[in-house]
Amino acid sequence: MIEVQSLDFTYPNGKKVFQGVDLQIEEGEYIAIMGENGAGKTTLVKHFNGLLRPTSGDVIIDGINTKESSVASLSKKVGLVFQNPEHQLFCETVKEEILFSLRNFGFSDRVANKQKDKVLEILSLTRYEDVSPFTLSGGEKKRLALASILAWDPKYVVLDEPTIGQDNDQKIKLGNFIKQLVAQDKTVIIVTHDVEFVADTKPKIILFSKGEIVAQDKCVNILTDKKLLHKTSLLMPQIGELMLSFPNLKTKEKIIDVFTARSFLRKELKK
């Protein structure tokens, strides 16, 4: 479990980000952290693996206070995939890129190679194994960055803006992949502005504005709350907007994704 207790954080240049943030993320949850630019989303997730330490308050990962542990040992539990894959690629081959982190964490060559083959296959990168990472497309680089984190099988997977620069097919694959991870009891946390992706994959949303949590709830409740969305500079998903414009259509729950809307409308039309 990730526990954030009375978190205050101020950057060394004096920029205050958080004041008294409290938060709990249970094991096996799928969470989307959303909010306007500069709301503190990335700053928050950098606390989960100790890259940033609280100015005051505590961040506790499975009972371990991040103040008392190194980034390397916390990263073994919390795999953080950065927004721009170009910030981490440096090896001559895709294979080496994945083995880099496994060697850092002290895996034996045999286990490291096994893990490497596994993640390359899962993320459809096997054919690029001996290719330079710099020759890959943007989407492939993003997948490689994800593969290099998943290789050591962290319990918590944090993805910072995973859908930026991904085409529709890749987004669908990513959504399915996240569902698989959650099914394997991993805790997946995404930081995103992509309301359509969130509407399709339905995580629990933690909504930030100006360094404060303004709401945390099921995504359908948050993504249909115009006031909250306006406050955090987010847009309602298009399907949600469309369905809300027909108040006569009585649905059990508000609809925000195309699949649910389609099956609902089919039933209605049959009637």
Partner: protein, 258 residues
Amino acid sequence: MKIFDGFKFTKIDSPIHRLDPRAKLFMLLTIFSLSILFMNLLVLTALFLLQLPMVVIAKSTRRWISSMRGGIFLAGLIFFANSLTGQTLTFSLTMMIRFLVLISSFSFFFMTTSPDDLGLALEQMRIPYSLCFTFTTAVRLVPTMAIEAQTIMDAQRARGLELDKGNLLKRIRNYIPILIPLIVLAIKRSIELAEALESRAFNTSGKRQSYIVLKLNSLDFIVISLAMLFLILGVYAYLNLSIPSLETNFRLADLLPW
């Protein structure tokens, strides 16, 4: 990455900040030339200490200290590299102090001179505009690269890289995963910048004019004259006077078992 803070311009109301960039450039070139000319520990130490009052007048002590703190690691590296390759203790110290003089003077110059003023000064010195632009753009990109370097460090630490682990050689090698992405991104950015400039018809017009024209005032003339006097005296002393030195034959390498 605090070392880069010491190379970033911040607008402060101080006599040094108000100086004409050409006067500060001349001052910088004087210190630079003398530090390259002399291989004498006493002279280089004096050159280093001479900058301290100017840093205080410029109200930039804290940022200067942070850039020096960042530079001390590299200075230490220079000291050890020289010592381990059999140089005398005096020589190693001299090389280290020379490096600190250079870091300090350049940091002082960039902390107190805005890139815009610097570009304008270079233009008024009749340096081709494309060169002035390249130089000022490079200066402006330093803080951006510092932020980028920090993000890369975070990304690699999140993959288990421990920068402070191992002996000196290992620690240096630990920086390869930081340097390669940083260089790749810098090259990419420069190509994108060049394309953006060309698509906006950069440097196709004739003679450029500027709304602001820099003028040297009396304080600038005093600073330039003092710097010139200092340079002439330095060159004269180098050629004609015997300056006491602290030369010893003691070598740290002699203490090593191999």
